[in-house]
């Protein structure tokens, strides 16, 4: 097995675990944690391809990963702000009880 395939398999496993967490947990914060894990798995793919692909001196994959980290941080801040706002309305973070769109 080449090193790149190993990194890709680890990233696929982390992505699948994050997807399972986002689909099965009831707490909205843990759904966000699952989404963060999926984003991180994608970043690992980008950096592994940058390291083992041709022309690493162009820094393409690494820069993409750095920008992706910045966007993920913004997403986490807004997502957790939304969870706190919903909690203030409904007194719960259980996604199964968030079944109405009326404010």
């Amino acid at each position: 097995m080449t090193p790149l395939a190993g990194y890709l398999l680890v990233a696929a496993l982390v992505f699948a675990i994050g997807l399972a967490g986002a689909l099965t947990r009831r707490n909205a914060i843990l759904v966000l944690i699952g989404i963060e894990l999926m984003l991180n798995a994608a970043n690992l793919n980008l950096i592994a391809f940058w390291r083992y692909g041709p022309h690493p001196e162009l820094l393409t994959g690494m820069m993409f990963a750095v920008f992706s980290i910045a966007v993920a941080a913004a997403e986490a801040a807004v997502g957790l702000g939304l969870v706190i706002s919903i909690y203030r309305h409904t007194r719960t973070t259980d996604i199964d009880q968030m079944n109405r769109m009326k404010g």
């Binding site: 395939a5 680890v10 689909l23 970043n43 706190i84």
Partner: protein, 166 residues
């Protein structure tokens, strides 16, 4: 595959697994921090030092703290009586396993055409700065705008509304 790779892979995967299966929400936040640290060490091992330290600063320094704050503000660490998984947990797990199966199959099938450069890329901070303010200056500005908008938006969304009891 080196021993370091297997240690880091085990650390990351166990951290991620613990984050989605543990009962106590605070424990989940700590476990996901371990997974983030494992990924940062992966980046360091892949000679992407800048991305590795950015990961440590942003994820372990900021996102993990933010998650813990959100858990404490919503009292979400109390374990619900009727289980931590939704009723459709079986379908969710099946979908995730299917996704992993497809991804793994694709990787195994393409194992012979994957690129394999062994030369270690040497990246200096000067190169990163040059490319950030040269080739990638437009994405950098857009990310700056996005972070400002997200900062203001998160404050407005989470702010107390007027007349609402605290």
């Amino acid at each position: 595959m080196s021993l370091v790779f297997w240690i880091l892979a085990a650390l990351t995967v166990f951290g991620a697994l613990a984050a989605v299966t543990l009962k106590n929400t605070v424990h989940c936040a700590l476990a996901v921090t371990v997974a983030f640290a494992g990924l940062a060490l992966f980046y360091l091992q892949l000679d992407a030092q800048f991305a590795g330290f950015a990961q440590i600063l942003v994820y372990i320094g900021a996102v993990a703290i933010l998650v813990v704050f959100a858990i404490l503000l919503t009292r979400g660490s109390e374990t619900p009586k009727d289980g931590i998984f939704s009723p459709s947990w079986f379908a969710g797990t099946t979908v995730a396993a299917a996704v992993f199966g497809v991804l793994g199959w694709a990787i195994i099938q393409s194992i012979h055409v994957l690129p394999h450069q062994t030369a270690t890329p040497s990246v200096s901070v000067k190169q990163i700065g040059d490319s950030l303010l040269g080739r990638y200056v437009l994405p950098l500005e857009i990310v700056a705008l996005l972070l400002t908008a997200a900062l203001v938006g998160a404050v407005i969304v989470a702010m107390h509304e007027k007349g609402e009891p605290k």
